[in-house]
Symmetry: C2
Subunit: 218 residues, 2 copies
DNA sequence: TTAATTTTGTACCGTCTGATTCAATATTAG
DNA sequence: CTAATATTGAATCAGACGGTACAAAATTAA
């Protein structure tokens, strides 16, 4: 969002005891699990291994730490499911790999269930303009990444040339939100995989079948 | 969820100054906007027009008030978009009316943006088993309601007999989550309508065209 | 009228909240 | 070795937190 209050300085003073990225990892896990309002500074100091003044000097107040944690999620965890979009397979396989990677995340492989963006950010967005903007930005970026990949598929003739790429991207992005929330509700992995398959079919097959015979329905 | 601590009693003692449903309305609006962690008991007493002991006697502690508020949302607000599913038009029109009603809600016509279930409940679900169960239950009920309507359409031949009704219902329900979160991010009404149209097409048109010519794509 | 019953309103409980102050500590520049 | 600089850790701040005790108030049953 804005320039962090303090990047790792080097020079004279006492050296820092913490690693910037590691501390952010810990903050991320804490906010991810407990949400913004459910996380206290004591929770953060315990998880990050830093005392309050160090946190404030390095990241700013609680709200700023939360925003940094969300950005950190996008930069580290979201990468795990955005990367498969660049493998240049056919759109159907690529989308399913995308959703599979998301399912790995939201079922708790790298942290709590669900995604910090879908599960905790909306709760703050109605009260905090900063949170609302951050939520909007992350959704926009997801739309854009998916849209770029889908546009490639359209140009390659995998889907109809008349396809509305932006709407297909919005549809595909909606799948990530649904997977996230359902995972947090406790949905088992196979249920999430079924839903992902349904979205893949809706995005790729509902418009024009790339090559395989049409699936049963969903 | 469970029996409320106190339903409107009548008999001897001093009469209540508050109306049960009206107080729940106020609690709902407060939690809906601020989330669970962002709402204090002072917020609740101010909004509900009740002092703390009355709230505790009538609803229980903060967690119980929140759970009751979510149930109240389902019983009062969700009705506004579940009702259109019973009008017995063709599935396409009925789904669009369903989403239109949802858009009315999530764009702030009856309260804050988004839906209290999609926007605030997931934030608590990872820490509170009660919240997780409530989230799962609401999602399940939505799937069931949509599934029932879609099964009707299948039996009427509007969609293919081989359609996987449960997956189409899960897809349609995912649309409600996406609309809710995007609305909270500040998405304008027309963008939500486009997304809703995309979901309607994905659910009804992606499988078998009921009667109208196919839309452009989304 | 009186006794029983229920809700209200205030005041308060101990604890936790986010945030800050400040001396002690650990480093580098000169 | 000294001066300058930056971080740490403990202690502390005023206020807000969720929750409760208790007496005054308002009703109905007898």
């Amino acid at each position: 969002m804005s320039t962090p209050p303090s990047e790792p300085r080097r020079g004279r003073g006492r050296p820092r005891k913490f690693d910037h990225a590691t501390a952010l990892d810990a903050a991320l896990l804490t906010f991810w699990k407990r949400g913004y309002g459910g996380t206290s500074l004591d929770d953060l100091t315990a998880a990050m291994g830093m005392n309050r003044p160090s946190i404030y000097a390095a990241f700013g107040n609680k709200e700023a730490v939360y925003a940094a944690a969300v950005d950190h999620y996008v930069a580290t965890i979201a990468r795990r499911y955005l990367d498969p979009l660049a493998k240049r397979r056919d759109l159907r396989a690529e989308l399913m790999a995308f959703y599979d990677a998301i399912i790995d995340v939201v079922t708790g492989r790298y942290g709590p269930h669900g995604c910090i963006v879908a599960c905790t950010l909306p709760a703050e967005a109605e009260v905090s303009p900063q949170a609302r903007k951050q939520l909007a930005r992350v959704l926009f970026d997801a739309d854009r990444a998916l849209g770029a990949r889908i546009a490639l598929a359209r140009d390659a003739g995998e889907i109809g040339a008349e396809s509305d790429v932006r709407q297909l991207a919005a549809l595909a992005a909606s799948g990530t939100l649904a997977l996230s929330i359902r995972a947090r509700a406790g949905a088992p992995r196979r249920e999430l995989r079924r839903l992902a398959q349904t979205f893949v079919t809706a995005v790729t097959g509902g418009i024009k079948r790339p090559r395989a015979a049409r699936r049963s329905s969903a």
